[in-house]
Subunit: 334 residues, 2 copies
């Protein structure tokens, strides 16, 4: 149980997704105290979502037997294009109506706390970097493989977000010109080859073409409620087709990893996201081997390719890392 | 003609290539005074090449009616993997025997001047950034298309070379899995699709397959002495085949540019190298259009894609930029 001091020494990290809101309370050493979850319900409109975020933050603080006055600040990751300086969500493709929403302003008013807003993949990278790697490497690339694929870059020990704050859109790196169609309208993007969406589509197409797989025994012919964990189960039960699809996806991730190592030569590459969390054992060795094959001689020396242990908590952890570092910066400036 | 002051206020930039050594003398405002050129003759061994570099530097200084005492420092770009801190060429694939050569130490002894050694593409990027863009953008990606393809990254106003000093190996970013074989052993690298080598190979294969082209009228059936400028001439005379090959290469460069914009979101992308110098008019509009098609919504806002005007002088200019900034740093540290 958390201490009952009234000093504001806790931080809340929030992961705002198109489906769910996750809020986590962290102490000053970035140890997670409690989490709370609410569905996002974006169809109810922007104001309703902001109310739900505030409620979720309050819920998580209450779960930790704390009051909101014991929280020093909140860091939140939003899915889309974010202007960190103004705290505005410029555009969130999965949430209708989210255009130029001053999320920081609204949340600061609702919570009475300093709020910091970042892109969800940037904040995930920051969580892995600050909490899992203890900010030790000089540079890091985070690759998050889930429904889509996103990335976050750490350069010279700092989050790097580029000119329009969009750096790290690695899911739309073209790996195969004339490859499968991507949601963005182009072809052969990394995301169209190796995201959960791409993997599920390849499995469904295979079944349509008459491929035999244990997945239909497990879930029925339409695979209605297919999840990444089901793929792991099928592979462990000896399903050759699923194994082949996952092996191919891991090779694509390995090639993308090598591209990023050739371009950026980071000290550490961290893989995360739902697909990696469910299929780490099945995919990591293939990813590392493929990356070694494709990276230029000399670039890989001492470079680590690892799988994050934060799983679904990368975003909330990053929110706490962000809030803590921004508040420390403000204090040292004052 | 240069001034006759004896203050050391000039900088020499050297571009060391597998074929030729180019040395340029620059004044304190980075205006080029004179250049000198010698063939590299790498087959004569490492020591002979180092002697030739020193001779080329002396020649260029003498051409400018200066003495070596009026030079404050020398910056040199070497083709391969370089350790900037130690001034060592770790490996240069096109120059036999160049492994762990302490180039800085040897040249400082030969010239009696401070010497700074960088990778050739890094130094080219630095030349474009410091002299052509006056160090104004916060971030820049340089893409150099010549015999091979290399790159250089400017991040937060500084050259960024990564963990093993190999960042910017953009020529080996895979764009087409199972595409044409690359010199590095992999398939479908950017360099295997759009370098001068790749372009020439596609033209030669086309001719073998019976394609008609003005190039054979101009140069004979074996295209013995084909240069990038010949492609420009053939296109301007209405050669459809050459036009198509160059259009395709420009599309590949556009896709690679979009990948880099998606990943790094730089303020400026600068294209340079021999192919761009010869074919700027034929390629730039296609490159920009393709990059706009492939870059994610929002990432391109205000991002400039331009062609360097430095041409073959990017490397020597970068050498002068490097020497000037390093010597200023030392002075301000002192």
């Amino acid at each position: 149980m958390a201490e009952t001091s009234t000093k504001a020494e806790y931080f809340v990290g929030v992961d705002l997704g198109g489906t769910k809101i996750l809020s986590g309370v962290f102490n000053n050493s970035l140890a997670l105290q409690t989490t709370s979850k609410l569905s996002t319900k974006p169809q109810r409109g922007v104001d309703a979502v902001i109310d739900r975020i505030a409620r979720c933050v309050h819920d998580s603080v209450d779960e930790a037997d704390l009051t909101i006055k014991q929280v020093a600040g909140v860091g939140i990751g939003a899915p889309g294009s974010v202007n960190f300086d103004s705290g505005t969500v410029i555009f969130a493709p999965n949430m209708p109506g989210w255009e130029n929403v001053p999320l920081r302003k609204h949340l600061e008013k609702a919570l009475g706390l300093p709020v910091f807003v970042e892109n969800d993949c940037n904040i995930g990278a920051l969580g892995v970097y600050g909490a899992e790697l203890k900010s030790k490497p000089a540079s890091m690339v985070g690759i998050f493989v889930g429904t889509g694929i996103g990335g976050g870059l750490i350069v010279n020990g700092q989050l790097y977000s580029g000119f329009n704050h969009t750096a790290g859109e690695i899911g739309h790196m073209v790996l195969e010109i004339n490859g499968p169609k991507c949601g963005c309208g182009n072809k052969g993007c990394f995301e169209a080859l190796a995201s959960r969406t791409a993997i599920f589509q390849r499995i469904k197409e295979g079944i349509k073409d008459g491929q035999k797989t244990l997945l239909t025994d497990m879930l029925g012919d339409d695979l209605g409620d297919l999840r990444s964990g089901d793929l792991r189960k099928a592979i462990r039960r000896g399903d050759k087709f699923t194994d082949k699809v996952i092996e191919e996806a891991a090779e694509y991730i390995g090639i993308a990893t090598a591209n990023l190592i050739n371009i950026l030569n980071p000290e550490v590459v961290v893989l995360g996201g739902g697909v990696m969390e469910a299929l780490e054992d099945e995919m990591m060795s293939i990813i590392v081997e493929t990356a070694n094959d494709y990276a230029m001689a000399g670039t890989m020396k001492g470079v680590e390719i690892i799988c994050s242990k934060l799983g679904d908590h990368a975003g909330i952890t990053g929110g706490a890392v962000l809030a803590r570092s921004e508040i420390r910066k403000k204090k040292s400036d004052a």
